[in-house]
C-alpha cells in the first residue's frame, strides 16, 4: 500500500508498504530517518518515541497505515520543531504547535552544513543542547526518544518538578547513565527557557 504523511514538515509518500510494517520501520528503512531507535520494538523502552500530531507515541507500536494524512516529528526534526514553536509562540503559553501551524511550516536547510564528523554547526533545540551540556548522552541510543519526550514535557510544563520529569520520562529506558544526568539536562533546559523568557 501507499502511505502519505508529513514528516518533520515535509510531505512524504511511502510505496509498497507491507500491511504489518510499523511507522518505525517506514521511518528508518524507507524514509532514511534512522534517528528513531529500534531497541525493543514492543513499546517498552521508548527509544523510538516520535510525535504523531503532537502526541508522543512509540513509533514501533504504530502501524504505518495509521499515519495516513498525519503529522510526524522525529528527533531529526526536533530542532526545527522547537524553533518554529519558539517563533510562533514566544511566551510558551499556547501549549504546542497547532495542526494548522505544523502544516504551514517547512523543514528549512540550515545555512551551515553540519560537520560530518562531529556535527558541529548543527542547530539544536534547547533540550538537545542541554543533553550535551549536562553529560546526559553516553551511548546515546536512548537519547532520541528521551529528547522527543522531554521536549514535549517542557512544552506543556515549563517548570517541571523532579517528580514531573520522572513521570514524563518513565516510558524511556536508559542503560548507561543512571538517569541522574538526564534529570540534570531537563532541569537545565527548563532553567534556560525560564531565563530566556524572563529576559535575564
Amino acid at each position: 500500500m501507499r502511505v502519505n504523511f508529513t514528516v518533520n514538515g515535509r510531505k512524504q509518500e511511502a510505496d509498497d508498504v507491507w500491511e504489518g510494517e510499523s511507522l518505525l520501520y517506514v521511518l528508518r528503512e524507507r524514509m532514511g530517518l534512522p534517528g528513531s531507535k529500534n531497541a525493543c520494538e514492543q513499546g517498552e523502552c521508548g527509544s523510538c518515541t516520535v510525535r504523531l500530531d503532537g502526541v508522543p507515541v512509540c513509533a514501533c507500536l504504530v502501524a504505518a497505515g495509521q499515519v495516513e494524512g498525519r503529522e510526524v516529528v522525529t528527533v531529526e526534526g526536533l530542532a526545527d520543531f522547537a524553533k518554529q514553536r519558539e517563533e510562533g509562540c514566544a511566551t510558551g503559553a499556547c501549549g504546542g504547535t497547532s495542526l494548522q501551524q505544523a502544516q504551514q511550516w517547512q523543514a528549512r536547510p540550515s545555512d551551515k552544513v553540519a560537520d560530518s564528523q562531529n556535527g558541529e554547526g548543527a542547530e539544536l533545540a534547547p533540550i538537545q543542547q542541554a543533553f550535551i551540556d549536562a553529560g546526559a548522552v553516553q551511548c546515546g541510543f536512548c537519547t532520541p526518544g528521551l529528547l522527543v519526550a522531554a521536549d514535549e514535557l517542557l512544552e506543556r510544563n515549563a517548570e517541571p518538578s523532579d517528580a514531573d520529569i520522572r513521570e514524563a520520562l518513565s516510558g524511556n529506558l536508559c542503560r548507561c547513565t543512571g538517569y541522574e544526568k538526564i534529570l540534570d539536562a531537563v532541569r537545565l533546559a527548563a532553567a534556560r527557557q525560564d531565563r530566556q523568557e524572563s529576559g535575564v
Partner: protein, 794 residues
C-alpha cells in the same frame, strides 16, 4: 613559511584548553542528539539483504535433520545456510576455548542456539522463511545445575572433554576451577569468637544494552568482506571470524559502527560471522539486526552463582579466616568463564585483611544460556555474598556494620588471598567514612510536598498501592574491590597511531586507535590526552577499524588505562619528533632548545618555565609526524592452579555505597530512595564522564538487587522472559538520586595516576540495597533479585 617566523620576544605560553582533568563534552554528542549518529542497526546499502537467524526451540537435543527446501523456494529469499554450508574445517569460535559452533552441528546445547541463517529482501520475508525450515530434534536430558553436571554418569555437554580434567578440574563438565589457599583457615577458625556462614544465590543478569546486536557485511571485489559492526574488541572478533570464513585476516576489514552500549555483552561474537557468510554467499550486502527477543539469546549473560561462605572474627572485631565455595553457571559454552572464575576466586575475600583463606571457585558447563562477561565480571557475585557476611558478623558482635568493615579494611600493602600485595592506594576505610558522612535524605519525603503523601515517591508509585501506611525505611552499606584490566598473565596491550600536521594554518593532531567507543567516553578522553601532551586544540579522532593495531577490549575498566596509556605514550613520542624538527629548524635562535625541558602548550613550544620558543605551526609547516606504537601495562602472572598464588592483577578499584530504601512491608514493594557512592578514581581525566560512569554502574547494581533476572525453567532450561516486558531494567522512576563523592588518590604505576572506574560501582550497589532492605525488614534475604514474595513470605 620559513625561519622568519621564529619568535624573538619572550611571552607566556597559554595552557591548552580541553586537556585532561576538564569536563570536556563528547565529540559525538551533537550527532547523537540529532539522530545522525550511525549506530550499527542504522546502516543501509543499495540492494542490501536482511539476515535472520533460526534458533533452537529446545535446550539439549540431537539434530536428526534440517530441511531448508521450502524456505529456499520462497520468493525474495536469497540464501539459507546451515552447518553443511560452512566453507572450511573451522566451524567453531570462542574467546578462550573454541567450543561455540557458528551454526549448530550434531546437536544443540542451549535454548536459542543458532541453527540456520537466512538472507532475504525484507526482514519479514527472512523471518517467515526461517519459520519454514524444518529441524528434527531428538531431545536429550537437560543438565541445569552442579549436581546434574557433575554426576558420575552425567552426559558430557562437550564431547571429547574427557581428557580435560587434568589435575585440578574434577569433571569434564567443569570449565575451570581455581582454588586459593593461604594460611590455615581451620587453624585460624579456632581463634574466632564468632563464626557466621551463609549460602547465597545470585540470579542471571543481562547486560540489556539498548542498541541491539547488528551490523552489515559487504562483499569485497577481492573475495574478502567489509564488516561494519558494534563490538567491544574489533581484533578479537577478527581473529575468530577470519578462520571460519577461510579468509586471511587482511581480507576481513572491520570498522566499528555506532555502539548502543555493551557492558560485556558484545565481547563474544553474535551476528558477525553470520552476516559475512550470507554476504559472501549472495554477493550482496547483508544487514542483520536482532530484535529484543533475539538479543536475549544473542549474547552471553552474567553468570548466576551459588556461594557458600564462612567467616570468623574475634570479639574485638578482627576477621580470623574465610572459607568460600563459588559455583558459577557458565551455560552451554565457555565464553569468558575461565577468567570469570579467576576473578571470582581472587577477589572473593573482598577489600578486607584476612590472613587465612580457603577458597574454591568453579564454572560449570550446563544447558542453561551461555554466560560470560558483564560489568564487574565475577567480582559482583562475590561482593554480594561477602558483604552480607560482614553485616552478619557485625550484628553478631553487636558492632556498627561500617565500623566493623573499617576495622578490617585493607590498605596499601595488604596481601590479597593470592599473596599479591596491593601496591597502590586502597582507601577502603576512607570511602566508607565518606559515604557514611553524606547527609541522609529526609524522612518521609513523600510528605514533604504537603499534608498528602505524593504517591509517586512511595513504593508502588502511581499504582496507588500505599499512601504511606506499612512503609518502613532501612539503610545499608557495602564496599567492593575490582581488578582493572586483563589479569593472569594476559598480554594486555593497546596500539595508538598519532599524526601531527598543519591543516588550514592550525596545528592538528589525529588519533587513530581500534578502541571500541561503546558509550563510555573513550573518544572524549583520547582527545583530552592528545591536547594535554601535544598542546593543540584541534584533535581529530579517526573511526576505529582494523587498519590500525589492536586496542584490546573495551571492558575490565581498562580502556582509559591501556588505550589511554597508548595514546599518551605515542603522543609523547610524537612530541619528541616535533621537538627534533623544531630543534633542527630553530635551535640556533635560542639556547633553551638544547638545554631546557620543552613542552607543547597552547599551540606553542615552551620551556618548563613558560618561555615560548616557537609556534607549532612554524615547526610543523611542510612537515608531519606520524607514529603507531604499542603500549603495555606492567605484566601480570597466572595464578597457580592448585594454590591460587600469583601476582595476577595489575590494579584495583574501590567503591562504597550507602543505600536508603523504603519498603511497603504489606505488599513487598521496594523503593530505593537514595544510593550514595564514594569511589577512588586515581585521577579523573573527565570528571563529568567519571560521575556518569559511576551513576550508570550503580544503577545496574540496583537493577539486579530488586528486579533484573533472566528466568530459566529448571526442568527444560528454556528462557522464560526474553523481552523488556518481562526482563525489567530500572526506569527513571526506579532509580533514585545518586550523589557521588569522587576521591583521587593517584596510582603511581598508571598513566596520570588514573584508576579504571566503570565496574567498581556495579559491585557494591547491589549488596548495599540488600543490606538496606534487610535493615528495614529484619529478613535474612540471601538471594538477589529480591522479589515481593521474599519480603511478604508468600
Amino acid at each position: 613559511m620559513g625561519v622568519t617566523g621564529t619568535p624573538t620576544s619572550i611571552k607566556q605560553g597559554s595552557k591548552t584548553k580541553g586537556g585532561i582533568g576538564e569536563s570536556t563534552l563528547r565529540p559525538d554528542g551533537t550527532l547523537k542528539v540529532t539522530g545522525e549518529f550511525a549506530y550499527s542497526s542504522d546502516m543501509w546499502h543499495e540492494d542490501m539483504l536482511w539476515g535472520y537467524t533460526l534458533r533452537s526451540t529446545t535446550a539439549h537435543a540431537e539434530i536428526r535433520s534440517i530441511d531448508t527446501a521450502e524456505a529456499l523456494a520462497m520468493p525474495g529469499v536469497y540464501a539459507v545456510l546451515t552447518y553443511d554450508d560452512l566453507p572450511t574445517e573451522v566451524k567453531n569460535y570462542g574467546l578462550e576455548i573454541q567450543d561455540t559452533p557458528v551454526l549448530a552441528h550434531g546437536k544443540v546445547r542451549h535454548h536459542g542456539e543458532p541453527v540456520a541463517i537466512v538472507a532475504a529482501d525484507h526482514p519479514e520475508t527472512a523471518r517467515r522463511a526461517a519459520a519454514k525450515i524444518k529441524v528434527d530434534y531428538a531431545e536429550l536430558p537437560v543438565i541445569t545445575d552442579e549436581a546434574s553436571a557433575t554426576a558420575p554418569d552425567a552426559l558430557l555437554i562437550h564431547e571429547g572433554r574427557d581428557d580435560h580434567h587434568i589435575g585440578h578440574v574434577p569433571h569434564p563438565n567443569i570449565v575451570h576451577r581455581q582454588p586459593i589457599v593461604r594460611g590455615d583457615a581451620d587453624e585460624a577458625a579456632k581463634r574466632a569468637d564468632v563464626i557466621v556462614s551463609g549460602e547465597y544465590v545470585f540470579g542471571m543478569q543481562d547486560q540489556a544494552f539498548l542498541g541491539p546486536e547488528s551490523g552489515m557485511a559487504v562483499p569485497g571485489e577481492d573475495g574478502g568482506v567489509d564488516l561494519y559492526v558494534a563490538t567491544q574488541w574489533l581484533h578479537s572478533d577478527l581473529k575468530q571470524i577470519a578462520p571460519v570464513l577461510g579468509l586471511p585476516e587482511e581480507k576481513v576489514r572491520m570498522t566499528l559502527s555506532g555502539v548502543g552500549g555493551a557492558f560485556g555483552g558484545r565481547e563474544d561474537i553474535s551476528m558477525q560471522i553470520h552476516a559475512c557468510l550470507l554476504a559472501l554467499r549472495t554477493g550482496k550486502p547483508v544487514k542483520i539486526v536482532y530484535n529484543r527477543f533475539e538479543s536475549f539469546f544473542g549474547h552471553v549473560h552474567r553468570h548466576p552463582a551459588k556461594l557458600w561462605y564462612e567467616h570468623g572474627a574475634t570479639k574485638d572485631g578482627k576477621l580470623t579466616h574465610m572459607k568460600c565455595r563459588i559455583v558459577l553457571d557458565g551455560g552451554a559454552y565457555a565464553s569468558a568463564s575461565p577468567a570469570v572464575v579467576g576473578n571470582a576466586s581472587s577477589l572473593s575475600a573482598g577489600p578486607y585483611v584476612i590472613d587465612s583463606v580457603d577458597i574454591e571457585a568453579i564454572a560449570l558447563y550446563t544447558n542453561n544460556p551461555p554466560c560470560g562477561a558483564m560489568r564487574g565480571f565475577g567480582a559482583v557475585q562475590a561482593c554480594f555474598a561477602y558483604e552480607a557476611q560482614m553485616d552478619k558478623l557485625a550484628a553478631k558482635l553487636d558492632m556498627d556494620p561500617v565500623e566493623f568493615r573499617r576495622l578490617n579494611a585493607m590498605e596499601q600493602g595488604t596481601l590479597l588471598p593470592t599473596g599479591q600485595p596491593c601496591d597502590s592506594p586502597a582507601p577502603v576505610a576512607e570511602l566508607l567514612r565518606r559515604v557514611k558522612a553524606m547527609p541522609l535524605p529526609p524522612e518521609q519525603q513523600w510528605l514533604a510536598a504537603g499534608e498528602q503523601a505524593d504517591v509517586r515517591a512511595l513504593p508502588g508509585g502511581l499504582s496507588n498501592t500505599t499512601h504511606g501506611e506499612g512503609v518502613v525505611r532501612g539503610i545499608g552499606y557495602a564496599v567492593g574491590i575490582k581488578n582493572v584490566g586483563f589479569s593472569e598473565g594476559f598480554d594486555d596491550y593497546s596500539t595508538a597511531r598519532v599524526r601531527m600536521e598543519v591543516i588550514n594554518g592550525e596545528p592538528v593532531a589525529t588519533v587513530h586507535t581500534a578502541m571500541a567507543e561503546v558509550g563510555q567516553g573513550g573518544v572524549t578522553v583520547h582527545a583530552q590526552i592528545a591536547r594535554t601532551e601535544l598542546g593543540v586544540t584541534q584533535v581529530t579522532i579517526n573511526p576505529a577499524d582494523t587498519q590500525v593495531g589492536s586496542a584490546g577490549s573495551t571492558s575490565a575498566s581498562r580502556q582509559t588505562y591501556v588505550t589511554g596509556g597508548a595514546v599518551k605514550n605515542t603522543c609523547e613520542n610524537v612530541r619528541e619528533k616535533v621537538l627534533e624538527i623544531g630543534r633542527a629548524k630553530f635551535g640556533s635562535y635560542h639556547p633553551a632548545w638544547a638545554t631546557a625541558e620543552l613542552l607543547l602548550e597552547g599551540g606553542k613550544v615552551v620551556t618548563d618555565g613558560g618561555e615560548v620558543l616557537a609556534d607549532l605551526v612554524d615547526v610543523l609547516e611542510g612537515e608531519s609526524v606520524d607514529l603507531e606504537l604499542e603500549w603495555r601495562h606492567r605484566p601480570t602472572e597466572a595464578f597457580d592452579l592448585r594454590t591460587g598464588q600469583g601476582n595476577g592483577h595489575v590494579q584495583y578499584s574501590f567503591a562504597a555505597h550507602r543505600a536508603v530504601v523504603e519498603v511497603d512491608t504489606e505488599l513487598g514493594l521496594v523503593k530505593v530512595i537514595e544510593l550514595a557512592c564514594a569511589q577512588d578514581v586515581g585521577k579523573a581525566l573527565n570528571p563529568l564522564s567519571v560521575v556518569g560512569q559511576i551513576q550508570g554502574g550503580t544503577t545496574q547494581g540496583l537493577g539486579v538487587a530488586v528486579m533484573e533476572e533472566i528466568i530459566v525453567d529448571p526442568k527444560t532450561a528454556k528462557v522464560r522472559n526474553p523481552s523488556f516486558t518481562d526482563y525489567l531494567i530500572p526506569t527513571i522512576l526506579d532509580t533514585p538520586t545518586i550523589p557521588v563523592d569522587v576521591l583521587e588518590l593517584a596510582d603511581e604505576h598508571a598513566p596520570y595516576g588514573l584508576r579504571g572506574i566503570g565496574e567498581a560501582p556495579t559491585l557494591s550497589s547491589t549488596p548495599a540495597v540488600l543490606a538496606a532492605i534487610r535493615n528495614a525488614t529484619g529478613l535474612e534475604l540471601n538471594r538477589t533479585p529480591v522479589r515481593p514474595e521474599h519480603l511478604t513470605g508468600t
